[in-house]
């Protein structure tokens, strides 16, 4: 068995796969402030749910922000991992848009899953999951609720500022002037969709197009981004673990190279 660990800014994901690259089990836990501990917990959970032991694991590869801090034999970048993961599941995908807790990225890959080009957000966190986390706490709605409320919106508010801090006061001012919370949420989804659209335009939107990362679990955001791009995306069943899955695939490759 092989394991991929994606130690992200917000969540830690581990995926256990067999030698054929099929997913055996996975776990997602909050990263907290200790990447090593959270990765150990995520691994323990994934092992438990597949009734495996640590000694069943032949090789581990890590990726994500905490990649160098967790226990793995090899580290790989998220760009390569997400590409590898998506290519294995959906070989026809040529463009990946991944929105995570602190980063958003767009990657263009070829028919072999090789990275041709990529862009990532600049230093600002406005186009990332962090933005939605901040907003959900301001609006007093848990992050899981955002999607349901999004689809209740009839007239999304227009958020002109792309800065998290300014957008926050803009949203508050809209709400105090009588806007509905669902319209604020739909407006926020549109605002980050627009930012990600602008960033990704630099590498283009060659089909097929896949969305990955934790934020792709939010159907409201997926709806806003697909409308903005004008393409129906390929969505993995669990978009948040693709990077970890790709790291697991790298573990198979690395293990073969080392044996």
């Amino acid at each position: 068995m092989y394991v991929g660990i994606d130690s992200g800014a917000s969540a830690t994901k581990t995926v256990i796969i067999n030698k054929n690259g099929e997913i055996v089990s996975y776990a997602i836990v909050p990263s907290g402030i200790n990447f090593k501990l959270s990765s150990e917990e995520a691994l323990r959970k994934a092992l438990e749910s597949s009734r495996l032991n640590l000694k069943d694991i032949s090789y581990a590869v890590s990726t994500g922000y905490g990649r160098a801090l967790v226990n793995a034999k090899y580290v790989s970048s998220e760009i390569t991992c997400v590409s590898r993961g998506i290519h294995k599941l959906f070989p026809s995908v040529r463009t990946i848009i991944d929105v995570g807790g602190q980063d958003s990225k767009a990657v263009r890959i070829d028919e072999n899953g090789r990275v041709l080009d990529f862009v990532m957000n600049d230093k600002c966190a406005a186009g990332t999951g962090r933005f939605l986390e901040v907003m959900s706490s301001i609006l007093g709605k848990p992050i899981e609720e955002l999607s349901r409320l999004h689809f209740k919106s009839s007239k999304p508010i227009k958020i002109s500022s792309t800065c998290t801090v300014f957008a926050e006061s803009e949203v508050i001012s809209h709400i105090s002037q009588g806007s509905e919370i669902e319209d604020a949420i739909a407006g926020l989804h549109e605002a980050i969709a627009e930012r990600i659209y602008n960033m990704s335009s630099r590498i283009g939107f060659e089909k097929d197009l896949a969305f990955t990362g934790g934020v792709a679990k939010n159907q409201g955001f997926v709806d806003a981004l697909s409308k903005k791009i004008g393409v129906a995306p390929t969505l993995p069943e669990e978009p948040q673990i693709i990077c970890a899955f790709g790291a697991g695939l790298a573990a198979i490759k690395k293990h073969k190279e080392n044996v």
């Binding site: 922000y65 580290v75 790989s76 970048s77 998220e78 760009i79 390569t80 602190q102 980063d103 090789r114 990275v115 080009d117 990529f118 862009v119 990532m120 600049d122 230093k123 630099r202």
Partner: protein, 403 residues
């Protein structure tokens, strides 16, 4: 952490630049004590002319870079910010203004003259006006029109700059009762030309595989070319450097072992984060070309000293059309066998960063060369997210490894 903070590999000659810089600043205090006028200049000001007038030039931009590299810039930024200068302003200007506003008892003696040219940079004139406002020091602002075509280097535009150089001489002669010595000036022009010649020859040797001179070298070795032009010390420095680099080339010795990727760096270096260069080098990537390193290297003709210097003022740095700049940039890809480009989008220097999206597009579409574009600030560490940038570097090097 200790290995992280370890310095990147440098040449023997480069190791001397730290001392050279400190000595240059300390001699400025000596000059001041002897009653010589000190000029604070922006780095695209013709130091050759001032030197011929026996004026000692120093550049607050150097000071900003030095403070940032030594981790002491923050205090000056705060000093300027307290007086209302926005954090969105160029960090060199904030550092320089902060120093001016806090007593000027450090590296730079207070100025007797402020000289800037409206070439290259959008901030210079306002920055120098602010210094003038705070310190009351006499101010000279020269203007070099933006060079749209290379013909501008020979037509009325050139005459316009020549006249301003003459005017600068006249003003300084009257103000400080100094005499411009033509013979001395011609000799300074010769020395300046020689230093540029040596430096350009050295840079050419970076075409060799493995590359004998890395990013850390080029970032430091540029100092004498900017401010010490027209001195014998500058020549000695560049002679020594060239000698060392030639020897390395003859022995096929690279600045790093196992050179895997040859990179272009576009922008001003991140003075507070020099270990980024090492981060690249540790992964087999070496910087072989930077437009920055060529920005001050201009050959001069001693038979037409003033004209030739005016041409340099016009063609320096960012004062030439973006298309011409991009052209040179792209030439370098073949010349230096570049595998990938690192484009540093500098929050402080929009004149530099503006064309980067266009260049990035050409790099991928026309040359199929991967690039990495990241945002930070050259001198302000508060605008720098180390993990985020390293994350992108890792991804970039992986992509390079696959191509």
């Amino acid at each position: 952490m200790s290995s992280q903070r370890e310095r990147s590999r440098v040449l023997q000659a480069t190791r001397k630049t730290g001392e050279l810089i400190l000595e240059y600043f300390s001699k400025a205090w000596d000059a001041k004590a002897q009653g010589k006028p000190i000029a604070w200049i922006t780095v695209f000001t013709p130091v050759e002319l001032l030197r011929a007038l026996d004026i000692y030039p120093i550049a607050p931009e150097h000071f900003g870079a030095m403070c940032s590299a030594r981790g002491v810039a923050l205090g000056y930024f705060e000093e300027a910010e307290k007086k209302g200068y926005s954090q969105n302003l160029c960090s060199y200007s904030r550092c320089g203004l902060g120093y001016a506003l806090s007593g000027m008892s450090g590296l730079m003696p207070p100025p007797d003259l402020l000289v800037t040219f409206r070439n290259s940079c959008d901030v210079y004139v306002k920055w120098w006006q602010s210094l003038h406002m705070h310190l009351g020091t006499p101010l000279f602002v020269g203007e070099a029109p933006y060079v749209l075509t290379l013909e501008d280097l020979d037509n009325y535009v050139l005459d316009y700059v020549v006249k301003q150089l003459e005017q600068l001489v006249k003003i300084v002669e009257e103000k400080f009762r100094l005499r411009f010595d033509m013979e001395r000036f011609v000799n300074i022009i010769k020395l300046s030309d020689r230093a540029s010649e040596l430096w350009l020859e050295t840079l050419k040797l970076r075409r060799s595989r493995p590359c004998p001179l890395g990013g850390r070298d080029s970032a430091s070795d540029i100092f004498p070319l900017v401010i010490m032009q027209g001195t014998e010390e500058a020549i000695r420095f560049y002679e020594e450097l060239l000698e060392e680099v030639k020897k390395k080339v003859a022995k096929a010795e690279g600045i790093i072992e196992n050179e895997k990727f040859r990179l272009l760096f576009d922008g001003i270096w991140l003075w507070h984060a020099f270990d980024l260069i090492k981060y690249f080098e540790d992964r087999g990537a070496v910087f072989v070309y930077e437009p920055y390193s060529e920005a001050w290297a201009h050959r001069l003709d001693a038979s037409k000293p003033l004209e030739s210097l005016a041409r340099k003022v016009l063609a320096m740095g960012l004062n030439v059309d973006i298309d011409l700049r991009i052209e040179r940039f792209l030439e370098s890809i073949k010349e230096f066998q570049i595998d990938g480009a690192v484009l540093f989008s500098n929050r402080s220097c929009k004149s530099w960063s503006a064309p980067q999206l266009v260049t990035a597009d050409i790099l991928s579409k026309k040359f199929n060369i991967p690039h990495l574009l990241f945002e930070a600030d050259m001198a302000d560490p508060r605008q720098y997210a180390e993990d985020q940038i390293k994350n992108r570097i890792d991804a970039f090097l992986e992509v390079l490894g696959e191509t």
